[in-house]
Symmetry: D2
């Protein structure tokens, strides 16, 4: 498959920090991503699964946290993450009306590998986040089935594609085609290299507000477009942050709040109808389901050194959003709804991002 | 069907306030409750649906709020209630591993009656709460199906039974059989009568902690029992509070926090493994999905007068829990797990609640 | 000074767990308490200072957390504890209108011992909690001055008196004289003994609601009293929890929520006008202000073992409240306002708590 | 006094919405601002008071809300605003170590005008926010006294100056001189004009991050500066939002969250050491302290129309921050610490903001 052209390939460098090796959430060791795309006729949707690791997540939980920027959303599993500070399943992204079936399927997936759940020990907390892809996708047909969830998890890999794929298949961002994007940053602590990685599912914003590294690109496209018909400013963005930096639940919570400045840098004012949810996890401390010691050791960061992680979070979020836009493809969905890609529009208007920004 | 003997029939009066006409959550005008019970072999589970009203809830939303006492739980839909302060579907109670399928089914139910959802307007926020009935129920078989959810909603009525029924079929509370319970209190404002109604799904607590109106009944039972084998102290309580008192989202949030003193009066210390979730709604102000005015009028209470509602909430919660216990039946579930009813144990030990308390 | 008669001396044993050696918050190693009482004419108020340790708290912070049960209160310093999870000053309790001057004084106290604050490093977060003693105390004269704060801190000791003393001098609880109370419980982890200690400043509740270990003592007193004139049900309770158990910020937050069941067991429904605030700290992990390592080690508890701490918190809170009531003295304050002590009322009505409860 | 040159006078227009008549928080009817500046030798600090109205605020409360972006701060009064949803005193801004004395002074101010407080009714909740001006100001001398608080309130007016004045006297923002700034936007509802007004106290950010309407101005200044010595990235921003739009507490809370995108647009990633606090109030519904009716009417907005308020909040926040920077003056404070003004730096580097941005 052809390598995708990402925002850096257009001459745009977000921020100052060094990226991870693939500028991807999977730069965090053990993190894998799997995607299933449903693209036929009126069905433009899919599933993206993020696995903190490929071992038994129920038995080997990771430290997790959530941050609700705007709660007009139907994400599942946040209550328990907030209480216990752990994530014990893969994180599933899909469309809004399929969140229930996705949670059901994720439960069945976990039961399959854990005969003790619900029998000899407690139950399981499925984590599902969603955006409304109803402008392009016939969301009412609830196309996602158990097999799609299983497949997304089972095919999770270190490399994955961005843009109109997986859960991003039918998403619309800043009036352009949105979807899946990723980016990462390196952070150095005690002379050791760590990674902050971000994956976004973008489905928010109005075209006129779009900024690319500060440049009002959205306004340029709009002002020169005659037949522009704004899509409803309903949407969402889901952000998943992964890191191998040792962070406590509270510290992780602070880190993932810095996703918001990253989103804001792309221009959005965070509209009311947009469910903006962040889920973060750190793979550095594993919490055993059957822990034998009463007192355990947790590594965490000296909080005086947390700013670099904050900055990396902002930068990676902004870049991941731009990657989701620039890799997405023009798409025609249900009822002939058509959404153009950013790359198409840049070409159409002869906008050269790199030269433009240097002018 | 035989009338159930409730805690007042045993001579116990909780608190000082007057009850509503049926001492039930359905004393709140327009509120209805429907239940489906699955009781065959290893399957001891079910569904309880609470309808704020029987009109179109998506188009005519009620003001809602949530309060997480202990978030070791998998309830669905809380994020959006917290953000927008409204409830737009029936509230479904069921077992933990069926929460996903219940949410999926509830979405399908709402789509059926609203052709605009996901097409001409936004999506829908299903509200599902759950407890783990895995001690009696083979929870791993995920017995709940779409039809059960539909049936529970469609058969919702003003009268309903308590104890081992609906979502309460397999629940265990204070080491005794728990389940569904309800109670209500009258509140007078500007010389008008209002109702605070509470419905509980009880699945929490250890026998030794059980108090009945302050009396250490749990300890009596325990101390005289030779072969007592404590069930795991994992569980939950779900509390749904309904009222026709005009309350803002913030005020409703304050009111439902007073569920916690009501729970505590029955003796529990709120164990870690117990997901204790409260959902409240007020039917007094209807929020139109397609509101035409930009500025709307909301009635709310003069906060100086809110204490009587707080007191009523505490009293009704405590009484609803006791009703769930006293109406439940001794049950044998999966793997021959047997849980005795409170009434059976009172009889066995010759405990007369009324005389006992007057002594 | 004469030893005070506490609730256990009346034959009342709250719960099942073993107390610490003095059944006091200072059973937690290094914790000290100092008090200054202002009792002359219309002035019935004071200061109670809780020191997590006597070393330099700014340089050696303890892990802290807060929990707002009901936020009708003016406590100071909670925002930063919630964000950073640390406490860096003694905790000062006083009357509501003196909270500002107490915070100012506490800042000056900390500046005195730390020449770097506000010059070579950041500032300091003073922690002050308060209740309204305005029924007995002429609170409008703001009697607390810098010297009282300094003195309370400087005289902090392992032993301290309960009842009508320090910040508790003018407090009213369940219509009776309230004030300062304390209790503690032992918790065993990995075969080692730890302590959960609680100190309360009680100023809440209505007489008719008072329960002593489940017994409706408040109603008995009331029903037999002719000239009972209820004081306004405005008030508060401040609870400070100390422990040497290693807890993360999140875990500590979970622990201090179990203060609420303890309060509720004494009968209150948590009225609107009552500011109920909990501050907790663990002395097990010290956070260095000038930490040199980027990654640090934190001990925390295996969450599967947290229930015993929850239970201890509930028990100690309930007992500390009862201790505050039973040790307090009948007091006549401003405008001849008179509040009787519980011990006086028990005597007057010939109530024998121990026999009563055994009946 | 000479009119100050604001960011619009440099050719910069933030966003698309129309400003209020003076582009100021005082465009909201009844809102007044008073300031006291202490500028002598090592003392570079002051007080800024925002009055929601000039009537009796304790008796006629306004609906209020708070939002903590980053809680490394010592603001006072937030707990009660969150619980009761009202503000009952002027809002005082000052330096961190003077927050206690400011709260004490504000209490005394309110007592003066309300003989019932603490005697015949409850107490008062003073609202004080702060930033650390310790780089320029000798903050350890706690220069603020009662008279300054009284004077700031008593001299509050519809017009007030921005930049290095009042609480802004010693503040540092993006490595440049910060301080007080303001801006406003018009919102039309049911064909009626309303105002969203914002006042900021800016003391945050690193020079390299500063963006002016997307332009990386901070980096330009830095890259060309030889002797640039970065100040510690400790700081804060306090944002006060006022509006005459009818909003419930919950809605107001949603609105003030959109301050964060406005801050982020100026470039900051929200560092750990920065206490970023937002306080909002709506003057549209007055809550009477002695309300006689049990049920009251509250106007609120149809939530489908809230997006324009969100956008206005973002725009006004961004512009207020830029106004605080562009109006501030180069200042030499304690220990010869010198901070340059933005206007001085623009001049020094020959940066023409308007031409620059059009290029």
């Amino acid at each position: 498959m052809k390598k995708q052209k990402r925002i850096r390939d257009y001459g745009i460098t977000i921020g100052e920090m060094e990226t991870g090796i693939n500028n991807s959430i999977t730069d965090v060791k053990e993190v894998h991503v799997g995607q299933v795309t449903l693209d036929n006729g009126e069905t433009k949707t899919g599933v993206t699964a993020i696995l903190p690791h490929k071992r038994n997540l129920f038995k080997k939980k990771v430290i997790g946290a959530t941050y609700v920027i705007n709660g007009f959303g139907k994400s599942i599993g946040l209550v328990q993450i907030d209480e216990l500070g752990t994530i014990e399943t893969p994180i599933i992204l899909t469309n809004t009306l399929s969140a229930g079936i996705a949670a059901d399927s994720l439960v069945r997936y976990m039961l399959k590998d854990n005969e003790d759940i619900g029998k000899d020990t407690g139950t399981i907390n499925p984590v599902v986040c969603e955006c409304n892809d109803g402008y392009l996708n016939n969301i009412r047909n609830i196309a996602i089935e158990k097999e799609h969830i299983f497949q997304a998890i089972n095919t999770a890999d270190k490399t994955f594609r961005e843009g109109s794929i997986g859960a991003g298949t039918g998403m619309v961002c800043y009036g352009l085609k949105g979807g899946i994007g990723t980016a990462s940053r390196k952070v150095f602590l005690d002379n050791k290299e760590y990674i902050v990685g971000v994956l976004v599912l973008t489905n928010f914003g109005e075209l006129e507000d779009l900024l690319i590294d500060g440049e009002k690109v959205g306004r340029k496209i709009k002002s020169e477009t005659k037949n522009y018909s704004p899509t409803e400013n309903k949407g969402s963005i889901i952000v998943v942050l992964a890191t191998d930096i040792p962070l406590s639940h509270r510290q992780l919570n602070r880190v993932i709040k810095r996703v918001y400045p990253g989103i804001s840098k792309t221009g959005s004012f965070t509209s009311s109808g947009s469910g903006e949810i962040v889920i973060g996890f750190s793979t550095a401390n594993i919490i055993n389901h059957y822990e034998k010691q009463d007192i355990i050791q947790i590594e965490s960061i000296n909080e005086n050194k947390i700013d670099e992680i904050f900055r990396g979070t902002k930068e990676a979020t902004e870049e991941a959003i731009l990657n989701s836009l620039i890799t997405a493809k023009t798409t025609i969905g249900r009822d002939n709804h058509k959404i153009y890609s950013l790359s198409k529009k840049l070409e159409e208007y002869g906008i050269d991002l790199s030269s433009n920004l240097k002018a």
